[in-house]
């Protein structure tokens, strides 16, 4: 009988052989290694400066690439930065794939990847979950969801950090998204990546790579990177070329007998109709849509206020004007910044929901601006110090002075002011460090660090939604902003030396960030400052400087033509700062010294 049972089972298996599984039609499980039969000189040894061929980039990307100095990789915070997803599979790579199954249903919850290059871990969620909200952190691998289209696995990735489409400075913005299609034939995996980037591309950028299943594993899975200063120079120097000064532009075309127009890239050069010197083909309209409606990062509804966990004891409230940090523990609640007055009721409700029964003991203002301090009075009144007073508001003394000058009522102003460059105190069993940059966006800023939670609250020194506001009339300076950003970089330490996570940074506005996001922002301010400084040195007028578009390569990401802080205002602020054209009473520019 036992033998018959085996036969029965065997026969059933044979009968079923013709019925394929219902899902996960193809397995990608295994260890795969790249084959570099396309663009090998670029993908393995590395690209040459000035080669933008084959990329549908825009003028902003060209400007960025023209300013690129390969020495940028020597900056401490860049030395160990991994490739981002749009480049990762193009470069040298091998990876391991395994499935994560739901133990009860055996359905595939996720496809997991470990990439030997930079020891990256990637999860492709297969359970239909939505993409994270817009204020969630970005990572080098992004957030990926997958779905089967027959035997093709289609993956959509959002929340990718800023990086490069080529290692020689062809930029990729943190607003890029990637759609991948994985196709397997035998032991060959073909991976098609289609990157969309409204900041630097005029249309989706498609590439495809091949990987071969390794029949004998590989032991080369670790990436040992230790960042260190290798030259005796200012560690905060950002190597770059000023416009027209990059000696390498043009060398690539000459060296490889390439038409000059072709190596400058652009969508028109990708089509067979392109000829050297031909009139550019008009960009296709409306093609830069990167991902589907359901893959869009969710946005806050109008008036919505949301509490988001950051790390350790620290949370972030979004939707109340400027971001608000909330630290919670046994001693009570500490709130950094207060948002707008209009949102204060919702903010208080969110804090009470997070920490029921706990009092708001302390508040800190990182600046005097109304989107950070508008809620001071109601939030302070909703709290109690241990002495029974309303919650104490700590700020640099310049905050109080600027608020008095602006006619802000007493009840909204901080009274626990400090005048030294730093202050610290313990709260909720962790050190709270406050640092005052002499003159950043204004002369009122404070940067706050929660040391045990490993979270920095940057205030408006760092924000992900616009250029920094440099309020020259209220003591702001360009160099002060750069110095303050450098100070944040001194405070942040990435996880495993791979430039991700570790210390998290809550920006004044925008999404949760980390050191990589701050260093890219610092580089941007530094480079634009240098360009305008050179123009000022040449005696150019403000109008001439604006016409030269010194921030062109970053305008698509941080610029604005309308609103409270436009690109023109940003350029003008730096120009005034550096040209000494400041109102009496404003702090002198250290950049211009």
């Amino acid at each position: 009988m036992r033998r018959l049972s085996y036969r029965a089972i065997f026969a059933a298996v044979v009968l079923l052989a013709g019925v394929p599984p219902a899902s996960a039609q193809v397995s990608f499980v295994g260890e795969w290694a790249g084959r570099y039969h396309e663009d090998q000189p670029d993908r393995v040894p590395g690209e040459e400066p000035g080669d933008f061929s084959g990329i549908p980039l825009n003028e902003a990307a060209r400007r960025f690439g023209d300013a690129w100095d390969v020495a940028r990789h020597s900056v401490l915070e860049h030395q160990c930065a991994p490739y981002t997803l749009p480049y990762m599979f193009f470069g040298p790579n091998q990876f391991r794939i395994w499935d994560e199954k739901n133990p009860d249903t055996q359905e595939t919850v996720a496809i997991q990847m470990y990439l030997g290059t930079y020891q990256q871990r990637r999860t492709i969620w297969m359970d239909g979950r939505p993409h994270p909200p817009e204020y969630a952190p970005h990572t080098f691998m992004g957030f990926s969801t997958g779905e089967w289209n027959g035997d093709v696995l289609t993956i959509t990735t959002t929340h990718i950090k800023a990086g490069y489409y080529r290692r020689t400075g062809v930029p990729q913005s943190d607003r890029s998204t990637v759609v991948e299609h994985w196709i397997r034939h035998g032991n060959l995996l073909s991976q098609v990546t289609i990157a969309t980037d409204p900041v630097y591309l005029t249309e989706p950028y498609i590439r495809s790579q091949e990987f071969v299943l390794m029949d004998r594993g590989n032991t080369n899975w670790l990436y040992n990177c230790e960042y260190a200063m290798e030259l005796p120079k200012d560690k905060n120097e950002v190597p770059h070329y000023l416009p027209g000064e990059n000696p390498w532009i043009g060398e690539f075309a000459a060296k490889h007998a390439m038409p000059e127009g072709g190596v400058r890239g652009g969508a028109e050069t990708l089509l067979p109709d392109w000829r050297p010197g031909a009139k550019p083909v008009a960009a296709r309209a409306g093609v830069n849509g990167g991902f589907r409606a359901e893959d869009q990062p969710s946005k806050l509804a109008a008036g919505e206020v949301k509490m988001v966990p950051v790390q350790g004891n620290v949370h972030m409230i979004v939707g109340a004007g400027a971001n608000i940090a909330v630290q919670v523990g046994q001693d009570g609640v500490l709130v950094v910044d207060a948002g707008t007055a209009a949102a204060s009721e919702k903010v208080i409700a969110a804090i009470k929901a997070l920490a029921p029964g706990k009092e708001i003991r302390w508040m800190i203002n990182t600046t005097f601006r109304a989107d950070h301090t508008g809620g001071n009075e109601p939030i302070a009144k909703s709290g109690r110090t241990v002495n029974g007073n309303i919650a104490a508001i700590v700020a640099h003394e310049n905050v109080a002075a600027r608020m008095i000058a602006a006619g802000i009522p007493d009840a909204s102003r901080p009274y626990n002011t400090y005048f030294e460059t730093s202050r610290d105190f313990p709260f909720n069993d962790e050190a709270v460090l406050i640092y005052h940059p002499e003159s950043a966006n204004t002369d009122t800023e404070s940067i706050v660090m929660f040391r045990r939670s490993d979270v920095v609250v940057a205030g408006d020194v760092f924000r992900t939604d616009s250029y920094p506001v440099i309020d020259v009339e209220n003591g702001g300076t360009t160099q002060g902003v750069i110095d303050a950003l450098n100070h944040i970089l001194d405070l942040t330490v990435p996880s495993k030396m791979l430039q991700e996570a570790g210390t998290y940074v809550i920006p004044g506005h925008g999404r949760i960030s980390d050191e990589h996001d701050v260093v890219m922002y610092r580089d941007m301010v530094y480079i634009i400052r240098d360009r305008i400084k050179e123009m000022v040195g040449k005696g150019m007028t403000l109008d001439q400087v604006k016409a030269a578009r010194p921030s062109l390569d970053y305008d698509g990401r941080y610029g604005a033509d309308t609103g409270a802080w436009t690109t023109a205002m940003f350029i003008e602020a730096i120009y005034k700062d550096l040209s000494g054209n400041r109102k009496a009473g404003a702090a002198p520019s250290r950049s211009a010294r």
Binding site: A22, S23, T105, N149, S190, I206, E251, V263, P272, V287
Partner: protein, 320 residues
């Protein structure tokens, strides 16, 4: 002791085993009836033509979008140390590439060597794809005015004479084969779709997540492809600059129509594997991307012609 028919070896226990097996198989198969349905259950029985069996529509005019190997595809690369870069040539292949003589090719009437089946897909250009008959897919290339015929007829045989494009035997593979191509706009064709596309809740997300496909919703596909194996071709060039492939090579291709991109673009992906014992040291893999065009207005056939490389002005190549 029960009697057993010696010649058939068929015993009551065996009968029980078969019944048991059938029951087990039926139970499990019922559980997968959704898959069976997707695979054409209820479809007309009997032999179908390749055109009728095909679940994906490849017809239309496709333009190559050259984002890879640009400097070796869009222009004729110089005959320098980088001439064979990326291609796994062996010593003989490298030697042959280094002896490339464009003028000699032109004088010998071999202008089409760079437009043979081994290199044609990599030439910038457009492909107009149509069904020549129910079992032959016709690929017209405007680059070099070349035509490839992909035959699905298993009885077809190559001609005695070798040609630039050789003899290509094609077969459908993957899910949905036999069900037939869905009409344009049907989700089964493209798998993706624009946000808000009708028919599937949620708008556009018409593929399958980790679980099995919903019963009764035939929305699989685009995962199917055409496998093509080409033989009987003349020796030619993998690149314009004379990197060779031999008549001994085997060329295998997979034609995929990718799920529609969220912006509405449709992509054809041609994966090519060339194995050449004479000139290559290992299989040569490429994947080439083509975008569907609205019409064939820009399909402009041109004769086989390779421009001379531009002069090298300096750098490594110039020092040779």
């Amino acid at each position: 002791m029960q009697a057993t028919h010696p010649s058939r070896g068929f015993r009551p226990q065996a009968q029980a085993a078969c019944v048991c097996a059938a029951v087990i198989a039926a139970v499990i198969a019922i559980g997968r009836s959704d898959v069976a349905a997707q695979r054409g259950a209820g479809a007309p029985q009997g032999p179908q033509t390749a055109r009728a069996r095909g679940p994906v529509d490849f017809t239309g005019t496709w333009v190559s979008v050259v984002t890879e190997d640009w400097r070796w595809r869009m222009v004729t690369p110089p005959k320098d140390a980088s001439a064979t870069a990326s291609i796994p040539v062996n010593g003989e292949g490298r030697k042959a590439a280094q002896s490339w003589d464009l003028e000699a090719d032109n004088k010998a009437g071999l202008q089409c060597k760079a437009f043979g089946v081994g290199g044609l897909t990599r030439q910038p250009g457009r492909i107009r794809i149509s069904w020549q008959d129910d079992n032959t897919l016709k690929l017209e290339f405007d680059a070099g005015t070349q035509t490839r015929l992909l035959t699905f007829d298993r009885a077809a045989q190559p001609s005695a004479e070798k040609t630039w494009q050789g003899f290509s035997r094609a077969e459908w593979e993957g899910p949905g084969v036999g069900r037939g191509a869905a009409p344009v706009g049907d989700n089964r064709v493209t798998g993706g779709g624009l946000p808000g596309a009708a028919g599937v809740p949620g708008g556009g997300g018409q593929g399958l997540r980790g679980g099995p496909p919903p019963r009764g919703i035939a929305r699989i596909n685009s995962g199917a492809d055409i496998k093509v194996v080409t033989t009987n071709f003349r020796e030619g060039y993998l690149r314009k600059n004379g990197v060779p492939y031999s008549e001994q090579a085997t060329i295998t291709e997979y034609f995929h129509r990718l799920p529609t991109h969220p912006n509405g673009d449709n992509w054809l992906e041609v994966i090519t594997i060339i194995e050449d014992p004479r000139y290559l040291s290992q299989p040569y893999y490429t994947s080439t991307n083509f975008r569907l065009e609205a019409n064939d207005a820009n399909f402009k056939p041109s004769p086989c012609a390779t421009a001379a490389p531009l002069p090298v002005k300096g750098g490594r190549a110039g020092r040779q």
